[in-house]
Symmetry: C2
Subunit: 183 residues, 2 copies
DNA sequence: CAATTCACTCAACACTTGTTGATTCAACGA
DNA sequence: TCGTTGAATCAACAAGTGTTGAGTGAATTG
């Protein structure tokens, strides 16, 4: 027994982070609806009322738990490789916050809105990088492909994808994305 | 007021179908958790208790509402065109039952299991049709692509995909899928 | 026509869940 | 040291939900 600093500010900061972390984990596992304040509180070893006191509402807790740094914009140089690199990264576990939004995006309107916004943004950037006539459609299909692979792999656990390494997936997917990127 | 046949068997058949139809619609819109027996009953203009009496439980109602005819196996000839054709079809609204399972697949374990099974099956058939070394991985990526496009279009409503016709999507996607199918 | 079956409704229970107000007690500032 | 602050808990409410059992009346059957 030591280390545990009993400073007020520090304790508060730590429990708040403990709650957020628990929330991210459980939101990512079960989605918004099936996640209960009580479950989060229990996982954070805290009274449910405290969660409310700190975050105001389940919805607010979700928003804060899910808040993640903006996706860095494509470097403009090689969009396809950029995307693939991101897939390569994604084949290691995605950040919990991202998984949480994705897990809820089909059943929670706000999560859907958030994802839609982020994807639309990516499409716009990609389309600009591509440039040609039906660039936007092709960009949308590229993004959709990424979305599908990520869902199948990270959230559904498609058996054929579970074994494969991120590198191998990226490598296999490259020609497909390139076909979309180039006219 | 006429036509309404007051035969017992017929009445029963009709209300049962009315309930199932309402269930499919609402499950497809909100997913499993957010769908209440009461909402289904109201939409079917029936007492909630009747839904229970006929189907036993919310879970059983879901299973029955979602039961859809098996996906016809690929003809073996041109898997890519087969898939694209299915996309072409899918760009018109998908059957409500399918939308219902898909809507719930990230948050309802049973729906996840069902979708996973169906996708695994498709992967297996596709892989067989392809044949080469990493056929299974490539097949899985093809299926994931289809999944992603369908989700983005039908469930998320990606703006860039909302306007595009099924034909045009299929056409644009073809080279991409072909790149995956052929070595 | 009398008895019975059965589609359908009503009212309620049991439980979960988000949320709240009063309360406790250790850290803090004077 | 002592009053104050604020982190944390406790008990409870109110609403919503799946589910149940008793009831009602029209269709059915003998």
């Amino acid at each position: 027994m030591e280390g545990t600093p009993t400073s007020r500010a520090e304790r508060r900061r730590r429990t708040e982070e403990r709650i957020l972390s628990a929330a991210r984990t459980i939101f990512a596992e079960r989605g918004f609806q099936r996640t209960t304040i009580r479950a989060v509180a229990a996982a954070a070893q805290v009274d449910p009322a405290l969660v409310m006191q700190y975050f105001g509402s389940k919805q607010a807790l979700f928003e804060q738990a899910v808040r993640i740094p903006e996706i860095p914009p494509l470097d403009g140089l090689e969009p396809v490789e950029e995307l693939l690199g991101r897939i390569g990264m994604k084949m290691g576990p995605l950040p919990q916050a991202t998984l949480a939004v994705m897990r809820s995006m089909l059943t929670h309107p706000d999560a859907a809105e958030e994802v839609r916004g982020k994807l639309d943004g990516q499409v716009a950037r990609l389309a600009e990088a591509i440039g040609s006539g039906d660039a936007e459609l092709r960009a949308a299909l590229m993004v959709s492909t990424m979305l599908g692979v990520t869902i199948a792999h990270q959230l559904l656990g498609l058996t054929a994808l579970r074994d494969a390494s991120g590198e191998r997936i990226a490598e296999t997917l490259r020609p497909s994305l390139r076909a979309l990127a180039d006219g």
